[in-house]
């Protein structure tokens, strides 16, 4: 990044997609980028936090255990049990909880100062998570309705016969393409756009403060205030995106498990 050399430049480099490509070792497709290091760090942090929170479990929880319980309860009660139903939500709870905690911690890394890189802003990570959910909910649907019955249940009854093939293709495309792709793109788009906004406000404010006339210096200060406001907004968006992706995964699984006529 050219932030250190910015005072000597006369051009402002606006953030774009190249802001996210930060290889540390090597280059090209197999480089070890900052995103891979951050996600490994997040996995280590999550394992440490969860193990420490459940080490000596008692009925009257200590503070660490209470914090872990609150997070676990959000996913278990208000997402998994309320949506999938209390009969078979336990089978899917590990996947949902892991996704929630992984996405939340990685999102929060986007605003924590030493790291400040949301790994979910690289498309590969949300894509893999969406792919896992895609495989899970289709396999669940196949096991429940049988291979042929699953496709037959896509078309509602009572439609005029000439429109049934068109509607069938429409339903097929929503189940096979739109649902997993929007799951990945929603998370990716929110994290990508939020990070670009923050980088723009902060580097733009710094550029204006250093290289500007008097009016631009005021604008630079305002830009830093905006960066602070956007950081708070980004915090809200990060929680919301992690919650929504887990909510939608539970909805898709519950839909596949439903007794369709």
């Amino acid at each position: 990044m050219s932030i250190v050399a910015l005072a000597a430049e006369s051009e402002f480099e606006a953030p774009g997609t190249s802001t996210f490509w930060q290889p540390l070792i090597g280059d090209g497709a197999f480089a070890i980028t900052r995103a891979s290091v951050v996600i490994l760090l997040s996995v280590a942090l999550i394992s440490w936090l969860l193990l420490a929170g459940t080490k000596k479990m008692s009925v009257v929880p200590s503070r660490k255990q209470a914090a872990t319980e609150v997070t676990y309860d959000i996913v278990r009660n208000s997402v998994a049990r309320d949506i999938i139903g209390s009969r078979d939500f336990l089978k899917f709870l590990p996947m949902l909880f892991s996704m929630f905690v992984l996405i939340l911690v990685n999102n929060l890394f986007g605003i924590i100062p030493p790291i400040q890189y949301p790994t979910m802003s690289r498309l590969g990570f949300p894509l893999v998570l969406a792919l896992i959910v895609f495989v899970v909910f289709h396999v669940v649907g196949f096991k429940k309705h049988g291979f042929i019955g699953y496709w037959k249940s896509l078309v509602p009854s009572g439609l005029p016969a000439w429109i049934v093939p068109l509607i069938f293709f429409l339903e097929l495309v929503t189940d096979l393409f739109t649902r997993p792709v929007t799951l990945a793109l929603r998370l990716f788009g929110n994290m990508f756009a939020g990070h670009i906004l923050l980088v723009l406000f902060i580097t733009g404010g710094e550029y204006m403060l250093v290289n500007g006339g008097f009016g631009l210096k005021i604008a630079g200060a305002v830009s830093f205030v905006m960066a602070f406001v956007m950081t708070l907004f980004e915090l809200l968006v990060e929680f919301l995106q992690a919650y929504i992706i887990v909510l939608l995964s539970a909805l898709y699984i519950a839909g596949a498990l439903a007794d369709e006529h």
Binding site: S157, G158, I163, V173, F177, T178, A254
Partner: protein
């Protein structure tokens, strides 16, 4: 074990007897809105590039949207 409400007869949407059925309906309706223009616009675009015409892509997008709206009306707009 709580029982789920039975699927009402003549229901036109999947996930009718499921708890939280409205959330299912809402997200499915939104997914139909996206997939209709995408699928039929894509088919129109492919046909355009094979046949060399210009108008099939907008026809596909609008037709796909009309089909999606019809499906949403059929599934969730009538009772």
């Amino acid at each position: 074990m709580p029982t789920e409400p039975p699927t009402p007869p003549g229901s036109t949407s999947p996930e009718d007897g499921v708890p939280n059925a409205e959330a299912h309906h809402a997200w499915r309706a939104f997914a139909y809105l996206l997939s209709g223009p995408l699928l039929y616009g894509g088919i129109g675009w492919l046909l355009d590039s094979w046949l060399g015409t210009q108008f099939l892509l907008p026809v596909g997008i609008v037709g796909g949207m009309a089909l999606s709206l019809y499906l949403i009306w059929f599934r969730y707009g009538t009772d």
